[in-house]
């Protein structure tokens, strides 16, 4: 009965061999010459500051995402302001600009309510649950 599983055994051995053989060949063939100056972290040949494998605060990620709101806003405001004089109906152009800012401001309100602009995240929600 167990004999019917021999294919799995062959599969396992072949799989392991296909991983181990190239690694062994690499050890045989590749030049290997590590020394401190070579294994040092690469920072454009400057003296590296700290280790390359650091833990990066996830809160910077949400801060960068929120920054995009203002970044895109300003990027579109400049051409709008530049051609503003040439519009026939300036009130219409102003209204469209305000509408655009309002939509992006809605995004800011959303992240504000979600608590993503707080540096100590979740603090407000926790307090609300306790109180």
């Amino acid at each position: 009965m167990f004999l019917s599983y021999h294919a799995v055994l062959v599969f396992l051995i072949t799989g392991m061999a296909m991983v181990c053989t190239p690694m062994l060949l690499g050890v045989l063939f590749r030049p290997r010459n590590p020394y401190p100056a070579k294994t040092m972290a690469y920072e454009c040949a400057e003296d590296p500051v700290g280790d390359a494998q650091i833990r990066f605060d996830m809160r910077f990620y949400s801060a960068a995402l929120i920054f995009i709101i203002f970044d895109v806003e300003i990027a579109f405001m400049f051409p709008w302001a530049f051609v503003f004089q040439s519009f026939g109906d300036r009130w219409m152009a102003l209204a469209e600009g305000v509408a655009f800012i309002a939509i992006l401001f809605l995004g800011l309100v959303y992240v504000w309510v979600k608590g993503d602009v707080d540096w100590v995240k979740g603090f407000r929600q926790r307090r609300r649950v306790q109180g």
Binding site: V27, L28, F29, P31, N33, A45
Partner: protein, 174 residues
């Protein structure tokens, strides 16, 4: 170095393998993205469409020394930069090759007499394979340097322990 590198006898089959490996290495020399001064402008022209260094497999500048085989030193190396050049060369993986591009890098150039801060030739810091003179060299001159380097790389003994290689290896103790 690796177990088999320069360890096999210098016989026909090993030489054939060496030739194949040398052909592969010479056909895919990846230079490092590195420019110092005005020679770098000529180097960029060589990478770009008109001169098209990619014809020789050397047109893929890598953004890190870990992936690159060749460092072209294009431009005046001053004392402050010399430390960095040495470290960049240190951080490249073997086999690594160096092309000294321009008069300053080959031996000081216009700064050879009064340049208090110029390193008089990059060969004082790192071992140079090919010298390309000129101030700055024409793109054709750099391409000629690349072709010379290709010849050198393709002739290299990788696995065979040749007479001249054995002498060098014995001199530095293995």
């Amino acid at each position: 170095m690796g177990i088999l590198n320069n360890a096999l006898p210098d016989i026909g089959p090993v030489r054939a393998v060496d030739a194949a490996v040398g052909w592969g290495r010479a056909s895919s020399i990846w230079p490092m993205t590195f420019g110092i001064a005005c020679c770098a402008i000529e180097m960029m022209a060589v990478y770009a469409a008109t001169f098209d260094l990619d014809r020789f497999g050397a047109g893929v500048p890598r953004a890190t020394p870990r992936q690159s085989d060749l460092i072209i030193v294009p431009g005046t190396v001053n004392a402050k930069m010399a430390v960095r050049v040495r470290r960049l060369w240190d951080q490249m993986a073997e086999p690594r090759y160096v092309i000294a591009m321009g008069a300053c890098v080959c031996g000081g150039g216009p700064y050879v007499k009064w340049g208090y801060n110029t390193v008089k030739g990059v060969h004082k810091i790192i071992p140079v394979d090919i010298f390309v003179p000129g101030c700055p060299p024409r793109p054709e001159a750099l391409m000629d340097g690349i072709l010379k380097l290709r010849e050198k790389v393709s002739r290299e003994a990788v696995f065979a322990r040749r007479q001249e290689t054995a002498r060098i290896l014995d001199a530095r103790g293995g």
